[in-house]
């Protein structure tokens, strides 16, 4: 065969459309340049079309029925267990498009349920009242209660210090303690709001007034205000309040060995 006709073995595949893109392009390019192959492909296509249009006679119904019956009897008998095994296999390996879609839907539903169980918000109402709008407040825990308790103990010490400070005596007010309490006041206020404890809120309100004065004012200047501060403590009964709060808020944590 001449080299110009080496493509003719691809003509049949070209008609069926099962050549690779590269092969198809090569055939098309060759046909543009080879009139002999153009004639040949036309003749091939007539034969190809005739074969495509071929109609086979259908088998006679009775013969087909007899064939089906005989062919099923040509090997051993099927048992119930064998059929059951196959049925189980068919059910487990059935994968139609609808079945896959249903499978996907099931997975999504299960995923949603699991996600809901894990990430669903707690049924307890979320306290949204914070120091600023939209603030997220985590639920109050035992640690927070301890925090409040020790804050109250420290506050009591500071209040007693202030109360016992005389006009002529040296100032023994622990300004560092006051500064520490001031830092913690913000969080204590949040917890008080979450607990909705009006007594504690009221107490914190007074402390928010006292603590900046005590911690930020120089000792020499504080002497001038000390009487005012003492008067506030007395009028607001802060020492009694802190004692009541200490007893009501929580018993102190028991330390190991005590």
């Amino acid at each position: 065969m001449s080299s110009s006709c080496e493509y003719d073995i691809y003509f049949e595949g070209y008609f069926h459309g099962d050549l690779s893109p590269a092969e198809e392009l090569a055939v098309q390019t060759h046909l543009l340049n080879c009139p002999r192959c153009r004639n040949k492909i036309e003749a091939f296509y007539r034969a190809h079309s005739a074969l495509k249009e071929y109609e086979r006679p259908t088998p006679p119904a009775e013969l087909a029925k007899a064939y089906h019956k005989n062919v099923n009897l040509s090997y051993g008998k099927e048992t119930f267990t064998q059929k059951l095994l196959l049925l189980i296999y068919s059910l487990t390996s059935y994968r139609s498009a609808t079945f896959r879609l249903a499978e996907l839907a099931m997975l999504l539903i299960i995923g949603f349920i699991v996600g809901w169980i894990i990430f669903a918000p707690s049924k307890e109402p979320i306290v949204i009242s914070g120091n600023y709008p939209g603030q997220y407040l985590r639920p109050v825990t035992g640690v927070d209660i301890d925090f409040v308790y020790y804050y109250l103990v420290a506050s009591e010490i500071l209040l007693l210090d202030i109360q016992n400070t005389g006009e002529n005596s040296d100032f023994s007010i622990d300004r560092e303690l006051a500064q520490n309490l001031l830092i913690k006041t913000f969080r204590i206020h949040e917890i008080a709001l979450q607990l909705n404890n009006l007594r504690l809120i009221n107490f914190i309100g007074h402390m928010q007034f006292l603590l900046p004065e005590v911690s930020n004012t120089k000792p020499e200047e504080l002497k001038e205000f000390i009487d005012t501060i003492k008067m506030v403590i007395k009028q607001a009964n802060l020492l009694q309040e802190v004692d009541i709060l200490k007893r009501t808020i929580k018993q102190p944590l028991k330390r190991p060995g005590t």
Partner: protein, 182 residues
């Protein structure tokens, strides 16, 4: 895993019901394939039945390098060609009377008649060599790919392409001659 292979594994382990599934799937294609070679449904039915018996007996020899359908078609093609070679049945397309469907059924004749052009074409196919005939039957009447035909006929894919090309060449020439005579 390919369901055919799973059924073959079941059959190898002694599950006849699995082979029944394979038979139900392939009994009609095998019958038609054998008919395409022999042009006689009664004979084709007997040969196809033997094909399945042979497949069942030799299922353990099937090594799964090729698809089960290709293996089964291989047996069917070989058996049909053997009958053709032995010259038993008439190789020509049987003459079919043009009668109504009911009387055709009563006489056990084909249910649907092929057109004249189809019958002429079938006669022309007898001019092809065995290999060419097999490639044409598998390609055009059973929609097999070049790769599957190569598996069934146990030859390289390019050989299949050459057989197809030669078949088309012969058929186109024969069709032209037939037209000229008419």
């Amino acid at each position: 895993m390919d369901p055919d292979r799973r059924f073959v594994l079941f059959t190898k382990s002694g599950n006849n019901a699995a082979f029944a599934r394979l038979v139900r799937k392939y009994r009609d294609p095998v019958l038609l394939l054998v008919f395409d070679y022999l042009d006689d449904y009664k004979l084709a039915g007997n040969v196809a039945q033997k094909v399945f018996v042979k497949a069942f007996r030799h299922i353990r020899e099937y090594d799964e390098k090729i698809g089960f359908s290709s293996w089964l078609y291989q047996i069917a093609v070989n058996d049909a060609l053997e009958i053709r070679k032995s010259g038993g049945p008439d190789q020509k397309v049987p003459r079919v009377e043009r009668t109504d469907t009911a009387s055709r059924q009563a006489k056990n004749l084909p249910g649907r008649l092929p057109s004249n052009s189809s019958r002429d074409l079938k006669l022309l196919l007898n001019n092809l060599s065995e290999s060419q005939l097999s490639t044409v039957i598998l390609r055009y009447f059973h929609n097999k790919s070049i790769h599957e035909i190569a598996e069934i006929l146990n030859c390289p894919e390019n050989t299949v392409r050459i057989h197809l090309k030669d078949s088309l060449q012969t058929l186109s020439a024969d069709l032209k001659n037939m037209k000229d005579h008419q």
